[in-house]
Subunit: 173 residues, 2 copies
């Protein structure tokens, strides 16, 4: 389980002099927060892995299945918009899901540019294991309902902030 990285303060800032402690603390914290998120994402991935291995899915594949379980026959683009992934990631992933017999991919006859992704019987059947996986994840977080709510709200605020600064802020130097 690696280490307790929480308290380490190795994320420098030696340049700043005294008198502006709050700003320093904020830059330090944003730096550490980023690592915490990065690390938490990996921990989630490792937590999911043994659960999803039994279903023959990776976590990103599982996300795609979640999207399809909630709305079948979507295009690659529509799936990508829900998960914030592009065709460079989705095309090979979907091919693997197709090779596994979980989905089928076919061009839309009305518009040959679109590829519609449809669940097979096996793909639909996998949904039965959804509850088991989700409950195991809930348990692994060690959080209660309030903790989950509070955290998700704040992470989503962060996401909104980061997303807002992606399009516009591209000031070159």
């Amino acid at each position: 389980m690696a280490q307790d990285h929480q308290d380490t303060t190795h994320q420098g800032m030696e340049k700043a002099g005294p008198g502006k402690g709050a700003a320093d603390q904020a830059t330090l914290l944003s730096n550490q927060l980023c690592f915490s998120i990065y690390s938490a994402a990996h921990l989630f991935n490792r937590t999911y892995k043994p659960l999803l291995d039994r279903l023959g899915l990776t976590y990103p594949q599982y996300l795609v299945m979640l999207v399809l379980w909630s709305g079948d026959g979507l295009t690659v683009k529509a799936i990508g918009e829900q998960l914030d992934l592009d065709s460079g990631t989705l095309t090979p992933l979907l091919k693997r899901l197709e090779a596994a017999g979980l989905v089928s991919r076919q061009r839309d006859p009305q518009n040959e540019r679109l590829v519609r992704v449809t669940l097979t019987g096996a793909g639909r059947a996998l949904q039965d294991h959804l509850g088991t996986v989700q409950q195991a994840i809930l348990c692994a977080t060690g959080l209660n309902l309030d903790g989950l709510k509070a955290l998700k709200v704040q992470v989503d605020e962060l996401r909104a902030g980061l997303a807002a600064n992606l399009g516009p802020a591209d000031q070159d130097g």
Copy 2:
């Protein structure tokens, strides 16, 4: 900027009957929280990219440099413990940093199993850009000091919970 995933409730659970709404809500939330973290990590990565591109670093490489700036001459294993990465990830990464002239890698004469990673002059010089990058990231989060603090505390609680359930909880089916 993808989409606003916050409110979508596509993460199923049709199986559960009525009367246990709280438990359902918790499993749903843990599922959504995981996606939020996954998505936030990617957004952070995209936010860092244009900043780090100018330094010729990727975000994981930047993390390694942060570790070395705070303590030079570490072994691969020590770096891996701080970042929760293994040699399969670090060895090629460090080779790229070495090829870029930022670090040098050499076996410890006292113990030939260890590889010590040392900053070069160019590697040390890169530290000058640290403040600029960190301030840009702080700005991009859109959070203030209190928001950063609160979020980091909660993410670290989550990390602790997930880490605690990684070693022990491996109940096979």
